[in-house]
């Protein structure tokens, strides 16, 4: 078993474990911390694929932006207590059952799917350096890239709209 495989399994186990703990922790702060760890481990996977740029962006966006935003919200709302009452047993069991069914179903169908027996293509070309990504993003994917700005703009206006206090009788 090569190092890479060991690293993969370790990372995979870590990812799943932290993801699970995220959900399982009763304290939202802990959840957030676990989630950050989870994200880091996913970044590790990206690095395994040699996608350094993506890994970096991932950490910046998720761990840096999204999680900070969440933590900030948690703090803002003063939710850092373990005040969540557990769901009724039936829903918890239901959730668990659904989780199991879904995992089994999906894994079954993927096991049933045609396994790739031969080797994997290695084009040898560079396909994931910043340079290539930049070119693809700003040439072929220019329109979606620009359209993303609309998305973000909408989200921005929306967030403002949702939180802006109105002045009465303007």
């Amino acid at each position: 078993m090569s190092t890479i495989v060991i690293i993969f399994y370790f990372l995979a186990a870590f990812t799943l474990a932290t993801a699970f703990l995220t959900i399982y922790s009763r304290n939202p702060i802990h959840s957030a911390i676990y989630l950050v760890l989870c994200f880091f481990s996913i970044a590790g996977h990206y690095l395994l694929f040699n996608a350094q740029f993506l890994a970096l962006v991932h950490i910046i966006v998720y761990s840096g932006a999204i999680m900070v935003l969440m933590l900030f919200t948690i703090m803002l709302m003063n939710l850092n207590k373990e005040d969540e009452v557990h769901k009724p047993r039936i829903t918890r069991i239901g959730a668990l059952v659904v989780f199991l069914i879904m995992s089994v179903v999906f894994i079954t169908i993927f096991i049933n799917s045609k396994t790739i027996t031969g080797g994997y293509d290695t084009s040898g070309e560079d396909f994931q350096s910043i340079k290539v990504l930049g070119k693809v993003l700003l040439n072929e994917y220019l329109v979606p890239f620009e359209f993303i700005s609309i998305l973000l703009l909408t989200a921005m206006i929306g967030t403002v709209l949702l939180s802006k206090k109105e002045k009465k009788n303007e």
Binding site: S113, F147, L151, L153, T154, L161, L162, E166
Partner: protein, 457 residues
């Protein structure tokens, strides 16, 4: 292509207008702008083209549906003026979001690449989350927003997963390439799984059973005008996109998958109709009615190759009736704290025109002749019979019968009960919108050719 650009431009313009305090002009300008865009869009009708590495594909399908979306948006924005009278400072935001939403909608029907599709649907969804939650001081609106947001994001995740699997199977996001590959042998099973997941995600968006649970709650809780938007524009967009997705990615639906569609279609229309029977809240009732219509629209997928025109017709008929109905509903429930049927009592006496319009739109939804809803259902039935699914049609017929029950509940309330209060003055814009919408509805009912055959040539 131009459509998308100009719509985005118009959206940005609306935001800028706020800076220069041009609120009074906002809605007229937006409407005029949309009309201009409508003209621009229609001018591209006979010029199929693709832009930017097939990111945007303009063809008759996309142009006709985009035009429909634009028309619906015009109506909705026209209604916004009065609806947001109390929220002048946010008006431009609302209008801008709606226009961006339109941009997302247009992207969804004219995508040539799954990236555009995904971003389009996200623009649409996020706008809707915002609009649903936009009455931030009202718990119901918050709840609606939250429910829609959680379930919607979940569905987005499913769609994303589906896209990912398709990418994994084919290595492309470009649907032309995917279409090519999907015909070849040896495509991994990831592809059908991915496609199934995307379709499930879209079924969620059109509120098909059993993915419909969000719809009634969200429709009820959201501000009425947003409900109008969701039940007309959003539903139509999702349906058109679903059609385009399937048609664009596979040459034909395998029988086994058609079975699924049959089951979901029948289930959806039945659930929608049966649940609507016992509703007291008009918006909620129309939500269930919308669910049942989604079931009908799904029948179009059973005759995939020939149903585009029918689907366009059905969606147009449904959306126009919906706009007319909601114009009346918004008007009637304007200063009320709920939308119960009781508010409609005696409308036939206090405001006969509006009552007539609501009646007409409900009759159209019920599929009574000369209203376009009849032709819509009829051509859908014909198509489906031609594809050999007679029993789905019979289920549809039985559902149409059931649907009379609740549509007429409202009509009866309007004409037989006495009004509790005296009518207040009606802003002209409601009349205008409702009348135009219902006239369009009847017009395409009398001349169904105009739309029915748009996509068949």
């Amino acid at each position: 292509m131009n459509t998308l650009l100009t719509i985005s431009g118009l959206g940005v313009f609306c935001l800028i207008a706020e800076i220069f305090n041009l609120r009074k002009l906002l809605i007229p300008v937006a409407i005029i702008g949309l009309l201009a865009i409508l003209g621009l869009t229609i001018s591209e009708f006979n010029i199929p083209s693709s832009h930017y590495n097939n990111m945007i594909v303009v063809n008759r399908f996309s142009v006709s549906f985009s035009s429909l979306f634009i028309v619906l948006t015009i109506f909705l924005i026209a209604l916004s003026g009065d609806f947001y009278k109390e929220h002048q400072s946010k008006l431009s935001d609302y209008v801008a979001i709606k226009i961006f939403l339109l941009a997302g909608a247009v992207a969804m029907v004219s995508f040539g690449n799954l990236a555009m599709f995904f971003i389009g649907i996200e623009v649409l969804s996020i706008s809707l989350y915002i609009l649903a939650a936009s009455k931030r001081l009202e718990v119901n609106s918050n709840e609606a927003g939250m429910k829609y947001f959680l379930l919607g994001s979940f569905a987005s995740g499913i769609i994303l997963f589906g896209i990912c699997l398709i990418y994994g199977a084919t290595g492309y996001f470009n649907i032309d390439e995917i279409f090519q590959l999907s015909q070849g042998a040896g495509i991994p099973v990831w592809f059908p799984i991915g496609l199934t997941l995307i379709i499930i995600g879209m079924l969620f968006k059109i509120a098909a059973a059993p993915f419909h649970f969000w719809a009634p709650d969200v429709y009820e809780g959201a501000p009425s005008i947003t409900t109008a938007l969701m039940s007309t524009l959003a539903k139509v967009v999702a349906m058109a996109t679903l059609y385009k997705l399937i048609q664009g990615m596979v040459p034909a639906i395998p029988t086994i998958f058609e079975n699924i569609i049959v089951v979901i279609s029948v289930l959806t229309m039945s659930v929608g109709n049966l649940m609507a029977l016992r509703q007291n809240n008009v918006k909620r009732m129309l939500a269930f009615s919308g669910i049942s219509h989604a079931g009908f629209m799904l029948m179009a997928l059973l005759s995939l190759s020939s149903a585009a025109g029918t689907l366009l017709y059905y969606t147009t008929a449904y959306a126009l009736a919906g706009i007319a109905a909601f114009a009346v509903i918004i008007l009637v429930t304007k200063n009320k704290d709920n939308e119960d049927i009781i508010n409609f009592n005696g409308l036939g006496k206090t405001n006969p025109l509006m009552a007539a319009i609501l009646t007409a739109s409900l009759l159209s939804m019920a599929g009574i002749p000369i209203f376009s809803g009849f032709f819509a259902k009829f051509s859908l039935f014909t198509n489906t019979i031609e594809s050999g699914y007679l029993f789905v049609v019979i289920a549809g017929v039985i559902n149409s019968i059931v649907s009379i029950g609740y549509y007429f509940k409202l009509i009866i309330a309007m004409y037989t009960k006495d009004a509790a209060e005296t009518p207040s003055a009606t802003p002209f814009v409601y009349y205008f919108t409702a009348v135009i919408a219902i006239i369009l509805n009847i017009a395409i009912g009398v001349f169904p050719n105009t739309i029915l055959n748009l996509l068949s040539a």
